[in-house]
Amino acid sequence: MKIYIRSSACVSAQHTLGVQNFLEDIVEYTGNRLPVIEPDYKRYIDPKQIRRMSHVIKMGIAAAKECLAEAGVDMPGAIITGTAFGCMEDTITFLTRIIEYHEELLPPTAFIQSTHNTVAAQIALLLKCHNYNNTFVHKGMSFEGALFDAVMLLKEEEANNVLVGGTEEMVDTSFTVLTRLGLYRRFPVSNLDLFKTVSKGTIGGQGAAFCLLSTDISPDNLAELRAVKTLYKPKDIEEGIAGFLKANFLTITDIDLVINGKNGDINNDEPYKQLEAGLFKETTIANYKHLCGEYPTSSSFALWLASNILKKQVVPEVLLEDNKIVGPPKSVLYYNHYQGKYHSLMLLFAI
């Protein structure tokens, strides 16, 4: 059974949602935290409801509805989301009020919308979709968890198509706390220079990206999703990647493009640099986190990116470090690691 990416839609720091061009007008930001380009939410959500919704809910619904519209599908066979932090805005609002109001006279809305499954639930509610609905919340593997579930559901023939997405919002409080934990650059940097400056820390990001996986053959499919795999604390990642390719009857020479999760942090990028000198030595490597920032479900952005590269048969120059000219790729390997512990792999082919 082959599994296809039927459509994909993405809210990000770049012009990615509902646009015809593909990363042609790149937006440069200087700072250590990327916003998103806000869609016109009224196109996707009843204005009366928009006011009550937090940023992550709005982003998630916009990406999900755009994805379904592009696929021409009204009712997905399942809805699965991944998020590490869930609904931070509502969580922090409620937590702050508990402390500031001494637990008295608290309005319930923030609590109601704070559960991690809110985005998947709100999509189901808007679509009146009674089908399978699940949310994965495992750190930097949250989206991969959702994607893995979607692939299993399709293989089990429980659904013909599955809407699967990754969402994450960055609010001031989480940015402050994560900065104190040492995740981000101490000084402002241009996102387009992220890989040119060697330093500790990366730039924070956020976004929402959905794709519709389908088992139906269609000329409109963006790409084939051949495999997805996560590894926890592997002894040797190079061996792990080679093993993943071998399990799919491939070697690295079959891969036209590697999209990697380099984020500009000197320690974080070390494993990527080792692979660049080793297994990926002869392979073209693309970066993406300078476009969307680092966040736990950025792999959903990468899946949107890989699908479009394979559909449009073009590798945008902004992804490449050394301005190489790259031919139209037939195969893409995605490799990312999260805090050195979690490693994820996705394998995609052109239709």
Binding site: I98, I112, F136
Partner: protein, 401 residues
């Protein structure tokens, strides 16, 4: 692609307000001893007003039981205690040689510690001990337990509000059926926090007395805490066990009510679909079910919707049913795991649990829950319901081997 058609339950582990292990739970049921009492572990204005079902061990006691550290979340402490009991109970020969997964669920993550952090942080953003936010993410809890149990082959975390750990259990079964894992420890944990206590309080669905699930005069739920895990194994692994497995997981379904973020639809659409879907998968008729472990939170809305859905599925032949939340309180993300343990024990020991404090049948329903502890009952098939915010409804069916 399924190479394993049957998934067996080989081990159980549990901690809740009525006991710190499986044996203590059986004893509490036999003696109809509920776990609700006044609040002791959280510093809150609701102390002395709202009853809760706390695990009767302090963090210090849980730390010495589990070997974790004082900065770990209580959710992690509870999770590890129950998961470790489940693994020991399963006693799988040659576990190190098998592909082992951990699929764990929770809704609060390390919120208990984040609350401590936040008090200082709000006053001054440069304050607050960072080690208090290390376990904030739901996934951190699973990671801590996986590391302590030495599990690396497959780990993930699910969070779908109050159906979280029921979804974790059936995801675990699917990993085995899809030949991804041979053994999966699945279930969930949640600790009591100010966040959830105040959250449910703003919804005005907490009973100021002990909850009365499925009673006409029910006032709401009591929050609880705990963890429950089951060890799922493939048929090949089941053959190697020295003691027979408790039961199989014969059916499961996840459906969405798609009605409201927190309220259930009046006719229990999602619950109905979940129960029907699980029955269809197991190949059983409603009359084959010998016991229903109800979601039965005790809120007017849940019990009305669930009761209506039960009526639609089972009328006119109602199996014995009860809400064990009348013992444990509503343990949120842990409840599906905890009640899966109870389901397996009901089959193994031929027992049916009482629905405590039930007095008056609901006007709208033609049935009432079981009110006494029953023994010697043929319990071949148990249905366990878990429904949550966001319309997430999941039913599981456990069957005699």
């Amino acid at each position: 692609m399924s190479t394993h058609s049957t998934v067996y339950i080989a081990g159980l582990g549990i901690i809740s307000a009525i006991g710190n292990n499986v044996a203590e739970h059986l004893d509490a049921f036999k003696n109809e001893r509920a776990g609700m009492a006044g609040i002791t572990i959280i510093d809150t204005i609701h102390k002395g007003k709202l009853p809760v079902a706390e695990v009767k061990l302090s963090n210090e006691q849980l730390i010495s039981l589990t070997g974790l550290t004082e900065h770990n979340s209580r959710t992690a402490l509870l999770s590890l205690a129950a998961a470790r009991e489940a693994v020991a109970d399963a006693a799988i020969p040659g576990l190190d040689e098998l592909r082992v997964g951990l699929v764990s669920a929770n809704t609060v993550g390390g919120m208990d510690r984040s609350e401590d952090f936040f008090v200082e942080f709000i006053a001054d953003n440069s304050k607050g001990k960072l080690k208090n936010v290390y376990d904030h993410e739901c996934g951190s809890i699973t990671e801590i337990v996986a590391d302590k149990l030495g599990i690396t082959d497959f780990i993930t975390t699910i969070s779908t509000a109050c159906s979280s750990s029921a979804n974790a259990i059936f995801y675990g079964a699917r990993l085995i059926k899809n030949d991804i894992a041979d053994v999966v420890i699945a279930g969930g944990a949640d600790s009591l926090t100010k966040f959830t206590l105040n959250g449910f309080n703003t919804l005005m669905i907490l009973d100021e007395g002990f909850c009365k699930p499925f009673d006409e005069n029910r006032k709401g739920l009591n929050l609880g805490e705990g963890a429950g895990y089951i060890v799922l194994v493939s048929d090949k692994v089941a053959e190697t066990l020295s003691t027979p497995p408790y039961c199989t997981l014969s059916g499961y379904n996840n459906s969405n009510d798609a009605f409201h973020q927190t309220a259930s639809s009046p006719d229990g659409t999602g619950s109905y679909m979940a129960m029907q879907g699980a029955l269809k998968m197991s190949g059983l008729k409603p009359s084959d079910i010998n016991y229903i472990n109800l979601h039965g939170t005790g809120t007017p809305n849940n019990d009305s919707a669930e009761g209506t859905a039960v009526k639609r599925v089972f009328d006119p032949h109602y199996p014995p049913m009860s809400s064990t939340k009348s013992f444990t309180g509503h343990t949120l993300g842990a409840s599906g795991g905890i009640e899966a343990v109870f389901s397996a024990l009901a089959i193994r020991h031929k027992i049916i649990y009482p629905n405590l404090r039930f007095q008056t049948r609901m006007n709208e329903l033609p049935f009432a829950p079981v009110t006494r502890y029953l023994t010697g009952k043929p319990v071949k098939h148990v249905m366990s319901n878990s429904f949550g915010f966001g319309g997430n409804c999941t039913s599981l069916i456990f069957s005699e081997v």
